[in-house]
Amino acid sequence: MNMNVSIAGIDWKNPVTVASGTFGSGKEYSDFFDLSLLGAVTTKGVSFSPWKGNPTPRIAETCGGVINSIGLQNPGVEYFLKQDLPFLAGYNTNVIVNICGHTVPEYVEVARCLSEEEDVDYLELNVSCPNVSEGGIAFGTDEQKLKEVIADVKRVSKKPLIVKLSPNVTDIVRMAQIAESEGADALSMVNTFMAAKIDVDSRSFILANKTGGLSGPAIHPIVVRMVYETARVVNIPIIAMGGVMSGRDAIEFILAGATAVAVGTASFRYPKAARQVIEEIREYMFRYNVDDIRQLIGQVRD
């Protein structure tokens, strides 16, 4: 049975990674299972200089969902290279480094640093960061800004570039096409949906930042639709994420056209969620006699 997939010319032993920001730098969950079991590990967002993130509370629960406003707290790329990357390099898996910036030059700087590192396999461009030059509007919701940041990062990146799309747009297929034509080697779909929760007893937002990003099974059906629509028109592979809690959720994405999936919020509920998803995909393949996972990609009946 083959679970191997290939993304931008690099082999994954199976189509499962973890979603940026839900797996720390990998250390913590390495207590629970062998990271070498994963197709790839995706790190939390790394920026050039350290970011403090948003005030707390930073997380809230909704029906089938989680809203977070971590605000990309991270100690910066230098710390990452010293403390986190060497740890990940010890595992037999691919390393996707998620990168963020407040301005295009910030993105470019961090991409340049990471490009020099042998142990980095891909850069994942998080375009949902607040664009400070444009008053906080995310790069990922503006066609022009999206083009610019991809083009500039692509120019310096020596690693395959995965562009992580924001779902908060009218036409995600168009954003995907822009990413493809600017040179993205793959797409991550999607980041979180802008949302808010109010505590009616105190009449205040639960998150200190008021709004945050919704993830979890609540969004899964919206993302299935987005992946399906996008996979039909782009020619680069899609890594799908949004509420993958089980192997079946992952298979839905793959049938819709994703080449791989990421397990995010599910890890908060069960530390071994990503490993379990891999096992459940294997069980599914076994039950239905699928001997190559690639036979499932995009194979939902039309």
């Binding site: 920001g21 839900t22 797996f23 720390g24 913590e28 969950y29 390495s30 207590d31 629970f32 299972f33 062998d34 939390k44 403090k52 993130g53 707390t56 509370p57 930073r58 997380i59 809230a60 629960e61 029906c63 089938g64 969902g65 989680v66 977070n68 971590i70 707290q73 100690p75 710390y79 403390q83 639960i206 979890g216 099974p217 809690m245 919020t265 599910a266 890890s267 908060f268 509920r269 069960y270 530390p271 071994k272």
Partner: protein
């Protein structure tokens, strides 16, 4: 091969009963956790309902190492909360938990004052027992309740000198735990505290004024409980001398901090 010091298990409920209108105590069969846990650590409880994704962090209240059990004392929330669903579980049923999590209180043989406010009281119980069992020493315990019917009061009395404050003055000193501490001029070489944030801020002031160490257990909304999501961070007073980090994770570096370390 991958032996975590944290055990994820489906724990059998041994006993589960009300301590007051909306507080319950649950005994769980959790041999590995009971062996590893120290007072001040907590466990993640997962609600069976898949739509409730996040863990409920609950402090370990009692540790029965001999029988491999732990108890949790928790407040049952209102309509549609996870703790309400948990409260309906019966002995014999199972609950997914992960623990022990966090650092726990550092124990010494100094004369100790344990301060608990509201639902911050249960974790102090484990601590007072541990101090008593290890050092044979009674602690000064100051417990702050809203009003009468406060939980665990009698449990504490067995091995501690207990003082109580109530908001409505129905028993003990009327006011906060700080009012009780001042009214009785209570002193100790080390303070431990758990309770609402305003209480902890007052403890911080007191500890600085009296120049004693005070270890406080902080509350936070948590995403993972194991250090990956950064939902629970709090500002350090000073950046960590080694890592240079200026925020720490309550779930991992905490929940217990010496008050001077954190900006509360």
């Amino acid at each position: 091969m991958f032996t975590s010091k944290k055990d994820y298990l489906s724990a059998k409920i041994i006993d589960h009963r009300a301590m007051s209108e909306n507080v319950r105590r649950m005994w769980l069969e959790a041999p590995t956790i009971s062996t590893m846990a120290v007072p001040g650590q907590f466990v993640n409880i997962y609600v069976a309902n898949r739509a409730k994704i996040l863990p409920r962090p609950i402090s370990i209240c009692e540790i029965d190492r001999e029988r491999g059990r732990i108890s949790l004392v928790y407040r049952v929330g209102g309509e549609d909360t996870g703790t309400l669903e948990i409260s309906r579980l019966r002995p014999g049923e199972r609950l997914n938990i992960l623990g022990p999590l966090g650092n726990g209180f550092p124990i010494t043989n100094k004369s100790a004052m344990l301060v608990g406010g509201g639902i911050g009281i249960p974790p102090m119980y484990a601590l007072s027992r541990e101090i008593y069992e290890i050092f044979g020493q009674k602690s000064l315990c100051v417990l702050g309740y809203k009003g009468e019917g406060g939980v665990m009061y009698r449990d504490f009395q067995k091995m501690n000198n207990v003082f109580v404050s109530t908001e409505d003055g129905s028993i003990g000193t009327k006011g906060t735990v700080i009012d009780a501490i001042e009214a009785f001029d209570l002193e100790a070489e080390i303070i431990y505290a758990c309770g609402p944030m305003p209480m902890l801020s007052e403890i911080k002031k007191l500890a600085i004024k009296r120049d004693v160490k005070a270890y406080v257990s902080l509350d936070s909304r948590m995403g993972c409980g194991v250090g990956v999501c950064l939902s629970c961070t709090v500002d350090r007073e000073m950046p960590d001398p080694i890592s240079g980090q200026d925020r720490v994770r309550i779930c991992t570096e905490g929940p217990v901090f010496e008050v001077r370390e954190v900006n509360i």
